[in-house]
């Protein structure tokens, strides 16, 4: 079992070195290497998950030869390992689903560059999930941003480059705030390892010194990560970045990149600031309000949108709002609901992006709704998958979205003051979700004599298989929610 302790570090290094190796390979070689690495990292994470789940503890892995306050550490429990496994699964499925589109969208001579970015993205996500050092987390946040920017701009259309520029600017604002927050925290505590900062912060809070600096620091770090993960008032870059990049990129950006930052934020809340101090600070009320605003505003913007990709992107803004609303509730039930929603949203949003591209492909590459009429008959498989994704986002039982809404409302009931607004906004947001998703589903199932050719499942088996896996993942999350919430609760309990 000693061997398994090396797996998290090994998986980070594996994905990073594969990025270096890919630069020397041709497109196809880089693609195969990437598939192999994502699968291998998934397998390693699965082993780690099994190991940590059986023992029920979290482990510290010392990087290099310097022990705790000076050296760098990796720390992993079952939640981290499970999240890494989940990220690998989503990444593999998103890449497979968008493979055909990717070949059309990018220059074949640049294919290996795309996979370099994907490998880098994977390694930075893994590092964000596993690291126990705040400054290492900052460095990997930046690597994540650069890799994500590469994924957006690989299309080389004017729109994509402009979207990448706007994405970079907003992200850098976020990481600047995060950096100065982290420097202030280092200044107050004298540590960089998350667990050590955590104990110092608890001491500071008990002594009552540095009250305002601590509050400012928490605010800076939380706002920085909120900008990067596109919480409502900072979401302006999101629809362009998701809407004009190639479909695999959009799926990975919405379900992995923003979720990586949110996972880091959860880690900071539990391990660095301490859950009680975070709850007692007034920041959570701000998060709660902006989360609620995002749930409404994201959905309203999505209703107004006439482009299917941008509509799905705006729906992401609403879903990120749900996650921050869960943080804002300030109970551990709210946190469990948020973590579950990270999984549910990642599984559903990538399904929607991938199935959406199937629908636009049989509509002459048009993304406008008028052209999409009846497209579900032209590509049956994508139509069904899109319907499943929509039902899940609306929150129909049997699918993952229902469970997260259920968990959110259960968590909301526990907190007295925030119960009413949370429940009302949940209800309103569900109705709004239903309006734009059902509108789309009805539109794609409206029979029409079309000028576009239809396609069948046999023509693209890989795509159909990917959609099937996504649907299975979604239904799995919806049906077996109890073991998953147990796992999240157990993982969060050994998190601090």
């Amino acid at each position: 079992m000693e061997l398994i302790r090396n797996f998290p570090c090994l998986s980070i290094l594996l994905s990073m070195f594969s990025a270096i190796l890919s630069s020397a390979l041709k497109g196809r070689g880089a693609r195969r290497l990437n598939t192999f690495v994502v699968t291998a990292v998934g397998a390693l994470s699965a082993c780690t998950l099994y190991f940590t789940h059986v023992t029920g503890q979290s482990y510290v892995y010392v990087m290099g030869h310097f022990p705790a306050p000076f050296g760098n550490e990796i720390r992993f429990g079952s939640l981290e390992a499970g999240m890494a496994l989940f990220f690998c699964v989503i990444m593999l499925l998103s890449l497979n689903g968008g493979r055909k589109k990717l070949a059309m969208d990018i220059d074949p001579s640049k294919e290996n560059l795309y996979y370099i970015m994907v490998d880098l993205l994977l390694s930075s996500l893994l590092a964000l999930v596993y690291t126990n050092d705040l400054f290492t987390a900052y460095v990997f946040v930046e690597i994540n941003t650069i890799a994500a920017c590469g994924l957006i701009m690989i299309m080389e259309s004017g729109r994509a480059i402009e979207a990448a520029m706007r994405y970079m600017i907003m992200s850098l604002l976020g990481s600047g705030l995060f950096l100065i927050g982290l420097c202030m925290l280092y200044d107050m505590t004298g540590h960089l390892l998350m667990s050590n900062i955590g104990s110092s912060v608890r001491m500071i809070a008990e002594n009552g010194t540095y009250v305002i600096p601590l509050l400012v620091t928490i605010a800076l770090m939380v706002v920085g990560l909120a900008i990067k993960s596109a919480l409502f008032p900072f979401h302006a870059w999101l629809p362009d970045a998701y809407g004009y990049s190639t479909v695999s990129s959009a799926a990975m950006l919405s379900s992995l990149v923003s979720k990586g930052y949110i996972f880091l934020l959860i880690k900071i809340i539990y391990r660095v600031i301490g859950f009680d101090i975070f709850v007692n600070s007034r920041i959570i009320n701000v998060l709660f309000v902006f989360g609620l605003a995002g749930m409404i505003m994201g959905s309203t913007s999505a209703i107004r949108e006439n482009d299917i990709r941008r509509m799905i992107s705006y729906s992401s803004v609403a879903q990120i709002g749900y996650i921050y609303m869960g943080f804002g509730l300030g109970t551990s039930a709210g946190m469990v609901a948020s973590v579950f929603h990270i999984l549910a949203h990642a599984a559903t949003k990538s399904l929607l992006f991938i199935s959406g591209v199937g629908l636009t492909d049989v509509s002459g590459d048009h993304k406008e709704f008028i052209e999409l009429t009846g497209s579900a008959y032209r590509n049956v498989c994508a139509g069904l998958a899109f319907t499943v994704g929509s039902l899940s986002m609306v929150g129909i039982p049997l699918f993952s979205g229902f469970i997260s809404k259920l968990l959110f409302s259960q968590a909301a009931v526990q907190s007295q003051l925030k119960m009413l607004p949370a429940l009302i906004v949940l209800a309103v947001s569900t109705v709004l979700n239903a309006i734009y998703f059902m509108k789309t589903v009805i539109r794609i199932y409206t029979p029409v004599t079309s000028k576009y050719e239809s396609t069948s499942m046999k023509k693209n088996v890989l795509y159909a298989a990917t959609l099937f896996c996504f649907v299975a993942l979604n239904v799995g999350l919806g049906m077996c929610s109890q073991p998953i919430t147990d796992w999240i609760t157990q993982g969060l309990s050994v998190f601090a």
């Binding site: 920017c149 004017g158 480059i161 706007r166 970079m168 600047g176 100065i180 960089l192």
Partner: protein
């Protein structure tokens, strides 16, 4: 309240510079000015770190004559952080500049809002 501002003047300068850089990165229309803002913002953080790591009267953290007493030297960790931060900000700046060149070649302007307007008009 006021007297702390005078004692910790370097931190005050650093935070003010951070604010200037942040606003520039956020509000300027010109992309080059945005990038300058980014660099001011990052450099302000390094100033903050360097000031925090410096201890009056202590030496640079290089061991001479086998003197291992920690009271002789300044804190070396912030310097390490500054170095890492510089590497990060250089690479990000390079990426932003390359994006700027791409956009300039295509649209012959550095004004990001104008590029957005033109893209919307083209309807691409």
């Amino acid at each position: 309240m006021g007297e702390h501002l005078l004692v910790n003047y370097a931190e005050v300068v650093a935070v003010a510079l951070f604010g200037i850089g942040f606003t520039n990165l956020l509000l300027q229309k010109n992309m080059i000015k945005k990038i300058i803002g980014l660099n001011i913002m990052d450099t302000a953080v390094y100033l903050f770190l360097a000031e925090k790591g410096y201890i009056e009267g202590h030496m640079a953290p290089i061991v001479v004559n086998g003197d291992l007493n920690p009271d002789t030297y300044i804190n070396p960790v912030p310097s390490g952080l500054v170095l890492t931060g510089i590497v990060v900000s250089v690479s990000v700046t390079a990426l932003l500049l390359s994006l700027t060149i791409r956009l300039y070649r295509r649209y012959h302007t550095l004004d990001l809002d104008e590029i957005t307007m033109r893209l919307k008009k083209e309807g691409l």
